[in-house]
Symmetry: C2
Subunit: 132 residues, 2 copies
Amino acid sequence: MIKKLNHVAIAVPDMDKAIAQYKNQLGAEVGEVKDLPDHGVTTVFVNVGNTVIELLHPLGDNSPIAKFLEKNPNGGMHHLCYEVDNINEAAQKLKADGARVLGEVKTGAHGKPVLFMHPKDFSGTLIELEEV
Amino acid sequence: MIKKLNHVAIAVPDMDKAIAQYKNQLGAEVGEVKDLPDHGVTTVFVNVGNTVIELLHPLGDNSPIAKFLEKNPNGGMHHLCYEVDNINEAAQKLKADGARVLGEVKTGAHGKPVLFMHPKDFSGTLIELEEV
């Protein structure tokens, strides 16, 4: 069902430092900083060759990653996003298998249909599925 | 410097359940279970198309992931491994940039030279570099 790893999302407490770590220290190609107020995050994509690292920093008062950074003040890996062909079929299959879908299919930060799966059903990893 | 994401390592409390999550629920191609007593882990590689998920379970009394699972009993993402051309050059550059290398260059779980970088210097993410 999953086709590829679209991105690894990392929540970071200091976006400028995180960009410097990836750009200057690891020598990766870092894109533009984008504010996504509807999603409560500022994001930057880092091209690491075969996939993308998405750096996330909270934006606004109700950021979905604020609590994660309270618990992990140094930052940390937040979720993995896998691509699927059909998000509704994926959701149905996973629900039938007993996995918990968090909420409904929504339009994700990249304008495509996404949904999140409960981390307790995937060995402690928050999994995003994106229809691509 | 980094060329590609070699793998995402996920520490899991129950290898059979984790394999079922990736194989049956997410429909990914799961390899053979391998015990690596020298590294204190049992591993399985999951092919997710453009990269690999490495599932890790503790093996023996001094597993390097035992403490991680004590703190994260459901499991969780443990590290990211990036490929580099030359591990010694990479280590020198990173040290010169002020990043902390954990220990020395060693032979990793896949028989290649690896080193680990301090997560506090990379926004809370433990980073492995592997010479490939």
